[in-house]
Amino acid sequence: MSADGRPVFLNVLQIRMPVMAVLSVLHRISGIILLLLIPPLLYWLQLSVSSQVGFQSAFNWFNGISGQVILFLLLWVLLHHLFSGVRFLLIDIDQGVDKQSARLSAWLVLLLAPCSSLLLMWLL
């Protein structure tokens, strides 16, 4: 109960969230993850310019199965945040605001991110 007696229900695990809501939460979570990845990114850059050994080490960082899995996850987080961000920018200029379009674009982003990650990994 809130202070004035009105009922309060904030159990996020029980509230049914439409796909746009899930996307919004993931946008926030992916942002926080990316924030924590900035120092490793800078470390990678520093390693890549330090020497030929460092360069090779940096560009071989993601070799091997576990390296590839980690790279996939990193790309997924980045692309998810980027694509859902673009979706928000489009909504800012009134593109895809109605419920149907919003649901469609939400699903599109949700699926496009991991697919693009796989594509990028294959290309690289």
Partner: protein, 114 residues
Amino acid sequence: MSRKASGLKAWIIQRITSLLVAAGVLLFALKLLASPPEGVMQWRAWLSMSGITVLVLLVLFALLWHAWIGMRDVFIDYVHAQSWRLTLLSLLAVYLAACALWGLFIMLGVFVQG
């Protein structure tokens, strides 16, 4: 801009920095796909081109500013005790400032030495 419009200012900067970072990510991906560096000398040569050095730093600073605004929103939404919020925001500021300086020195080293 009046004090009452500070939310609008943050909103606009968030959009602008997001576009800069998106452009940076795109550039980096295109570079790796179209002409990946074959060794550290090539890599440093590309990074030390003045346009590229400026671009990398610009994208980095845009990223850090974007992260500040985003994370500040998260703290405002979930951290209600002012003492905690102030502490977390201060730590975030130091974290981002350190990243900015670190990035600056990495790029300065590359730019000066080539």
